[in-house]
C-alpha cells in the first residue's frame, strides 16, 4: 500500500484572479486587526482596488493569451465565457467599490453604519458618528464576496458551486444590513435576504445531492455524460436539476423566486445595491448558463417548458408590477426582475448565440445597473436619500447632467437603439428566436413595451414635471463616484454604438467541460 499520492498539478496562473481577490480579502481581515483605525480606510482602499486591478489584469492576460482550461482538479472551468464573466464581475466590482468608497454624499461619512453592532439611535452610534469612524470591515467582506462571485460562474461541480454561492452571499447578507441611514429597513433587508438565501441554497444543495445520487459525481461533465447514458433514476435527475434551478433562479431574481429582490434592493445601502444588482446577477447568470448548457445540456427538452413558464412569468411580473412602484429603488428592482426574464431567453435558446448574447447582455446590464443606482445615491433630501419617484420631478432643470445620464441609463434599460441595452436585447432575442422560442420573443417585446412605460415615466418626471414639495438636491460626489459613473455611462454608449469588439470577443466562445 502506497501512502504517497501524486500531488495534484494546479495551474495557479489560471486561478490568479480568484486567488488574488481572496488573498486580499484575508489580508484585509488582518489589516482590520493590526492597522491603526485612522489608516485603515486608506490601506483597505489600496488593497481592494489593487487586488481588483491585479485580478483584472490576470483575466485580461488569460483572455488575450487564450489561457483557458480546467483548474483546481477539474473543480473550476476557466474557459472563454468564464473569463469574460470574471472580467465583467471585476469591472463591476471596481465601479461598485468606487461607490462604496464615496464619502462626500452623506455628510456623516460613507453609506455604512459607523458601527453596525451599535443599536440604531443609541448614544454609542451617535458617538461613533461624531468621531467620524467608518466601518472598514466592509472591504474584506466586499472582497470575499467578489471572490465568491469569481468562482461561482466558473465552478465546474456542484460542490464548488455551493461553496462559491455561500462565499459570495454571506458577506452580502451582512453588508446589506449595515446601512448608515434607515437602519431598521436595512436590517430587515439583511434578515430577509439571509433567511430566503439560506432557504434557497438548501434547495440547491439538496438538488446537488440528488444529482450526485443520479450520476455518482457532482462534476458537470460527469452528469451530462450520465444523462447521455441514461442509467435510469430519472426521478432523481429531474427533481435534482429542478432544485438546483430553484437555487440559481433565486439568485438571478426570477419569478416566483424574486420576492426578496425589491425588499433587499430597497433596504440595502444604495452603493451596495449598485454592486450587488450588477455583479450578483452576472455571477448567478453565469452559473445558471453553465449549469444549463453544460451539466444539464441533455435535459433541454424537459427543462425547456419549465424555463418557458419561468421566463414568461418573470418578464410579466417584473414589468407589470414595476409599473405600480413609487420608490425608485423598488422600481429598479422590478426592472432587474424583468431583465432576468429577458436573460432566461438566452438560457432557453440553448445555442452558442444564446450564450454569447446573454454574456453581452450581462455586460451591458452590469453597467446600466451600476449607473442607475449610482445616480440614485446622489439625489438627497434633508433626511438622506430621496427615493420617492415624485422627488425626481424637475431634476432635469436642476442638474441636467445627472438627469441626462440617468435618462441614458434608463433608455438603455428600456432597450432603445444606440444604447447597450438594445444590442444585448437584440442578441438574446435573436438567439431565442433561433432556438424556437419565437412566442417568448413576442412576449418579451410586449413586456419591454410595458417596461418602457415606467422608464419613460421617470424621464418625464425629470424633464417635464415641475418639482413640488420639499427641496431635493443632487449632491456633487467625490472623484470616486464621478469616475464610476463616467465609466458606466461611457460603456453604455460604446456598447450601443460600437459593440463589435465585444461581440468579436464573444464570437465562437463556448463552455468547456
Amino acid at each position: 500500500m502506497n501512502l504517497l499520492m501524486d500531488a495534484p498539478v494546479i495551474d495557479y496562473g489560471i486561478m490568479q484572479p480568484i486567488l488574488v481577490v481572496l488573498g486580499a480579502a484575508v489580508l484585509g481581515v488582518l489589516i482590520e486587526a493590526f492597522a491603526p483605525r485612522e489608516n485603515r480606510r486608506n490601506i483597505q482602499l489600496v488593497v481592494t482596488f489593487g487586488s481588483l486591478l491585479i485580478a483584472l489584469y490576470g483575466v485580461v492576460t488569460n483572455t488575450s493569451e487564450k489561457h483557458v482550461g480546467l483548474g483546481a482538479v477539474n473543480s473550476l472551468s476557466i474557459d472563454g465565457p468564464g473569463l469574460f464573466l470574471q472580467g465583467v464581475i471585476l469591472v463591476s466590482a471596481l465601479v461598485g467599490a468606487m461607490f462604496l468608497a464615496e464619502r462626500d454624499i452623506d455628510v456623516q461619512g460613507d453609506a455604512f453604519a459607523p458601527q453596525a453592532s451599535a443599536l440604531p439611535g443609541s448614544e454609542d452610534e451617535s458617538e461613533f458618528t461624531l468621531r467620524g469612524w467608518l466601518q472598514t470591515e466592509i472591504w474584506p467582506l466586499f472582497l470575499f464576496s467578489v471572490g465568491g462571485m469569481l468562482i461561482f460562474p466558473v465552478a465546474n461541480d456542484f460542490l464548488t458551486l455551493f461553496v462559491a454561492l455561500e462565499v459570495m452571499s454571506l458577506p452580502l447578507y451582512l453588508l446589506a444590513g449595515m446601512a448608515r441611514r434607515r437602519r431598521l429597513l436595512s436590517q430587515e433587508a439583511a434578515l430577509k435576504y439571509f433567511v430566503l438565501g439560506a432557504f434557497s441554497s438548501a434547495f440547491l444543495l439538496y438538488g446537488s445531492a440528488l444529482l450526485y445520487g443520479f450520476a455518482g459525481s457532482v462534476t458537470y461533465g460527469d452528469i451530462v455524460t450520465a444523462i447521455g447514458q441514461d442509467p435510469g433514476r430519472n426521478g432523481l435527475l429531474i427533481v435534482g436539476s429542478l432544485f438546483v434551478f430553484v437555487g440559481l433562479l433565486f439568485k438571478v431574481g426570477a419569478a416566483p423566486f424574486h420576492q426578496w429582490t425589491p425588499d433587499v434592493y430597497q433596504g440595502a445601502p444604495t452603493a451596495l445595491t449598485a454592486f450587488m444588482g450588477a455583479a450578483t446577477k452576472v455571477a448567478a447568470f453565469g452559473a445558471l448558463l453553465r449549469v444549463a448548457y453544460v451539466a444539464l445540456g441533455g435535459l433541454r427538452w424537459d427543462l425547456a417548458p419549465v424555463l418557458w413558464v419561468i421566463a414568461g412569468l418573470t418578464m410579466l411580473i417584473g414589468t407589470v408590477v414595476g409599473v405600480a412602484q413609487s420608490d425608485i429603488k423598488r422600481m429598479l428592482a422590478y426592472s432587474s426582475i424583468a431583465h432576468a426574464g429577458f436573460l432566461i431567453l438566452g438560457v432557453i435558446a440553448a445555442n452558442p448565440a444564446g450564450l454569447s448574447g446573454s454574456l453581452f447582455y450581462l455586460l451591458a446590464y452590469a453597467f446600466t445597473t451600476l449607473g442607475t443606482f449610482g445616480i440614485v445615491s446622489l439625489v438627497h433630501d434633508a433626511s438622506g436619500e430621496a427615493n420617492n419617484l415624485g422627488q425626481f420631478a424637475g431634476l432635469g432643470k436642476r442638474s441636467p447632467l445627472v438627469a441626462g445620464a440617468f435618462a441614458l441609463f434608463l433608455l438603455a434599460l428600456a432597450g432603445i437603439p444606440l444604447t447597450s441595452g438594445f444590442t444585448g436585447k437584440f442578441a438574446v432575442f435573436a438567439a431565442a428566436y433561433e432556438g424556437g422560442a419565437a412566442p417568448l420573443v413576442v412576449l418579451a417585446v410586449i413586456a419591454s413595451a410595458i417596461a418602457a412605460f415606467f422608464y419613460v415615466r421617470v424621464i418625464v418626471l425629470m424633464f417635464f414635471t415641475e418639482p413640488q414639495g420639499e427641496e431635493v438636491s443632487v449632491i456633487v460626489p467625490s472623484m470616486f463616484t464621478q469616475v464610476g459613473l463616467s465609466i458606466a455611462a461611457t460603456a453604455t454608449v460604446i456598447l450601443g454604438v460600437m459593440p463589435q469588439p465585444v461581440l468579436d470577443l464573444l464570437n465562437n466562445t463556448f463552455f468547456i467541460r
Binding site: V195, V246, P256, W301, V309, V320, G322, F453
Partner: protein, 620 residues
C-alpha cells in the same frame, strides 16, 4: 398661338394677384384687355378655321408631358375644334363684355382688383375646360372654374351668407366631381386611355355596360356643375355673388359645362341608351323644377337663377335625346348665353339703380327710369320665352320638336315648361318694369353708366339676332356635325302644327303672368296665404330642406359622435390597456406582503409548480 387663349387671362390673373396693391390703379383695365385679347385670338382662330374644309378644322397641340406612370399617360394637350371654338367665343365674348360691365359695376368696391383677377382666372380655367383634349385636363378646368366660382360667390366674404353659399357651391360641385373622377377611372380601367380621341375610338367596341357606367358617372358630374337635380341647390344660393359673376358664371358659361361634357362624350352616350334615358329624366325634372321655382321668387336674381336652372335642364334634356339633340342643345346653350347674360346684367343694372335691393316687390314701373335697361332686358325676355324671330325661338323650338319626335311625353313636358317659362318671365318683366312704382322715397332709380349699358346693348343684339345668325349664317348644324354627328337622316320631321301650338302655350303663359302682375297691384310684402305649390317653390321645392335633413344634420351628428368615439373608444382602448396593466399591477403588488415566510411559501409553491410542469411534460 392658340395657347394664348388660356395664357392671356391667366397672365392677367397672375399679374393682379401677385402684383398686389401696386396694380390697384390699372388692374381692371389690364384684366379686361387680357380677356378681350383672348377673345380676339378666338376670333382669329375661328376665322382661320372657318376657311378650312370641315375635316381639317380640328387641331390638337401638346404643351408638355403631364403625368406618365406605367400605361397611364396624360399630356397637357389641347384640342380646338368646332365645338370648343363655339365655347371659346362665348366665354371670351360674353366674358369680355362682363369685364367691361364690371368696370362700372365694381367701381366703388375696395377689392375691385381682386375681383378682376378672379374673373380672369375664371376665363382661363373655363377655356382649359373646353380646350382640353383629355378628360383629366378637363378636370383641371372643371375644378378651376369651380374655384373661381367659389371665390366670386364668396367675394363679399364678410357676409356670412356669401361665405356659406360659396362653400356650399364648392362642396356640392365636389359631389359631382366624384362622377367625373369615376368616369376618368372607368375610362382608363376599361379603355386604357383618357383622351377624347382615344375614348371615342374605344367606344366603337366598348360594351354597353361600360358605356352606361361611364355615361352615368359623367351625368353625375354634369349634375354638379350644371346645377341639375339632385345637385341643384347651390345655384340659387350662388346669387350671393356680385351680379356680373352671376351673369357670366352662373348663367352664360360655367353652369353649361355639363352640357358640354355630355355633348363631348356623345360617342359614349350613343351606345348607352340607359344613360341617355337618365340624362333625359334628370334634364326634364330640372327643367320643370327650375321653372316652378322661378314662378315664386321675388328676388330678381333668384328668379333668373331658377330660370337658368330650368333652361340648362332643357339643354341637358336635349343632349339626352341623342345625335338629333346635341346640336340644338349647344345651339340653345349659345343663345341662352346671350339672353340670360343680358338679363342678368340688366338685373344688375336695376339693382345698381335701386340701392342693391333685389326684391322685385319693391320695383315696378322702372321702364321709364331705366330705358336702356328696360329695352335690353325686354329683348332678352322675348328671346327666352321664344317669340320669333328672337334668339330663343330658334333653339327652343327645335328642341321641342326633337323632344316630340323622341317621345310624346317628353314633348309635352317641354311644352309645359315653355308655358311656365313664359309665365314667370312675364311676371318678372311686369313686376320690374310695369305696374306701379313701389320703391321707397329715398331710392332714386337711374340709368347705369355707359360701361354697363354698352355690354347690355351688345348682348341684347345677341338676344335679338343671335339665333338667326347662328342658324342661317354660321349654319351651326353642319358646323358641329363633325364633332357631335348630326344625323340628317333622322332629322326630326317637320311638324307643321307644333310651332303654332308652342306659340299658343307661350302666349297663354305670358298672358296669365301679365294679368296677374301687371294689371293687379303687387303687394310690397309677399302674401303668406298662398298655395302649397307657391310655398314649396319659394322654398326651392325643399331641396335644401332635404339636404339638411338627409345629409347635413345626420352628418353633423355623425361627426360629433365620431369625435366622441375617437376620444373615448379608440383612444380609450389604448388608455384602457394602460389602465388594465395598472390594475393588474396593483393587485399583483399585494403578493409582496413583506413577510419573509410568505416569500418562502411562494418559492416552495413555485418549486412545486415547476416540478409538476416537468412531470407533466415528461409524461406527455
Amino acid at each position: 398661338m392658340h395657347s394664348l387663349l388660356i395664357g392671356l387671362p391667366l397672365l392677367g390673373a397672375a399679374v393682379l394677384l401677385l402684383g398686389g396693391k401696386r396694380t390697384n390703379a390699372w388692374g381692371h383695365y389690364f384684366a379686361t384687355a387680357m380677356s378681350i385679347g383672348s377673345f380676339l385670338v378666338g376670333v382669329a382662330s375661328f376665322s382661320e378655321m372657318f376657311g378650312l374644309p370641315a375635316e381639317e378644322r380640328s387641331i390638337e397641340w401638346t404643351l408638355t408631358e403631364w403625368i406618365s406612370v406605367g400605361s397611364f399617360q396624360v399630356p397637357i394637350a389641347f384640342q380646338l375644334d368646332q365645338l370648343s371654338i363655339a365655347f371659346v367665343l362665348l366665354i371670351t365674348g360674353v366674358g369680355s363684355l362682363i369685364h367691361v360691365y364690371s368696370i362700372g359695376y365694381m367701381e366703388h368696391d375696395a377689392n375691385r382688383r381682386k375681383f378682376f383677377s378672379y374673373l380672369n382666372l375664371f376665363v382661363s380655367a373655363m377655356i382649359v375646360l373646353v380646350l382640353a383634349n383629355n378628360y383629366l385636363l378637363l378636370y383641371v378646368g372643371w375644378e378651376g372654374v369651380g374655384l373661381a366660382s367659389y371665390l366670386l360667390i364668396g367675394f363679399w366674404q364678410h357676409k356670412p351668407s356669401a361665405a356659406t353659399a360659396a362653400k356650399k357651391a364648392f362642396v356640392v360641385n365636389r359631389v359631382g366631381d366624384i362622377g367625373l373622377s369615376l368616369a376618368v377611372m372607368l375610362m382608363f380601367a376599361f379603355f386604357g386611355t383618357v383622351t377624347f380621341a382615344g375614348v371615342n375610338e374605344a367606344a366603337d367596341n366598348a360594351s354597353e355596360q361600360t358605356a352606361t357606367w361611364i355615361g352615368l358617372a359623367l351625368l353625375l358630374a354634369a349634375c354638379g356643375k350644371s346645377a341639375q337635380f339632385p345637385l341643384q341647390s347651390w345655384l340659387l344660393d350662388a346669387m350671393e355673388g356680385p351680379t356680373p359673376v352671376s351673369a357670366l358664371i352662373h348663367a352664360a358659361t360655367m353652369v353649361t359645362a355639363g352640357v358640354y361634357l355630355i355633348a363631348r362624350s356623345n360617342e359614349i352616350y350613343n351606345i348607352a341608351p340607359t344613360a341617355q334615358l337618365a340624362v333625359v329624366i334628370i334634364g326634364s325634372i330640372t327643367y320643370l323644377m327650375g321653372a316652378v321655382i322661378g314662378t315664386a321668387k321675388d328676388d330678381i336674381k333668384k328668379g333668373l337663377a331658377g330660370s337658368t336652372m330650368s333652361q340648362i335642364g332643357l339643354m341637358i334634356l336635349a343632349v339626352g335625346l341623342g345625335p338629333i339633340g346635341y346640336v340644338f342643345a349647344i345651339f340653345h346653350l349659345l343663345t341662352h348665353g346671350f339672353f340670360k347674360a343680358g338679363m342678368f346684367l340688366g338685373a344688375g343694372s336695376v339693382m345698381h339703380g335701386m340701392h342693391d335691393d333685389v326684391n322685385m316687390r319693391h320695383y315696378g314701373a322702372l321702364r321709364t327710369a331705366m330705358k336702356i335697361t328696360y329695352a335690353t332686358f325686354g329683348l332678352g325676355f322675348l328671346a327666352i320665352i321664344g317669340i320669333p324671330p328672337f334668339a330663343g325661338f330658334w333653339s327652343k323650338d327645335e328642341i321641342i320638336k326633337v323632344a316630340f319626335s323622341y317621345s310624346p311625353l317628353v314633348g309635352v313636358l317641354t311644352l309645359v315648361g315653355a308655358g311656365v317659362t313664359a309665365f314667370y318671365m312675364t311676371r318678372m318683366m311686369a313686376m320690374t318694369f310695369f305696374g306701379t312704382a313701389r320703391w321707397d322715397d329715398d331710392v332714386h332709380p337711374h340709368e347705369s353708366p355707359k360701361t354697363m349699358t354698352i355690354p347690355m346693348i351688345i348682348l341684347a343684339f345677341g338676344s335679338a339676332f343671335g339665333g338667326m345668325l347662328l342658324l342661317f349664317v354660321a349654319d351651326i348644324e353642319s358646323w358641329l356635325e363633325p364633332v357631335v354627328g348630326f344625323e340628317h337622316a333622322h332629322h326630326a320631321p317637320d311638324n307643321a302644327i307644333l310651332i303654332p301650338v308652342t306659340l299658343a302655350v307661350v302666349a297663354a303663359g305670358a298672358a296669365l303672368g301679365w294679368i296677374q302682375y301687371a294689371t293687379r297691384d303687387v303687394p310690397r310684402v309677399a302674401p303668406a296665404d298662398v298655395s302649397f305649390l307657391t310655398t314649396a317653390a319659394r322654398a326651392d321645392l325643399y331641396g335644401d330642406a332635404v339636404n339638411e335633413a338627409v345629409f347635413m344634420r345626420p352628418g353633423q351628428y355623425l361627426t360629433r359622435s365620431l369625435v366622441y368615439v375617437d376620444n373615448k373608444v379608440v383612444d380609450g382602448a389604448v388608455n384602457g390597456t394602460a389602465g388594465f396593466v395598472g390594475l393588474v399591477a396593483s393587485q399583483l403588488r399585494r403578493l409582496q406582503t413583506g413577510y419573509a415566510r410568505s416569500y418562502a411559501l411562494m418559492m416552495v409553491l413555485g418549486a412545486l409548480v415547476i416540478l409538476a410542469t416537468a412531470v407533466l411534460v415528461r409524461m406527455s
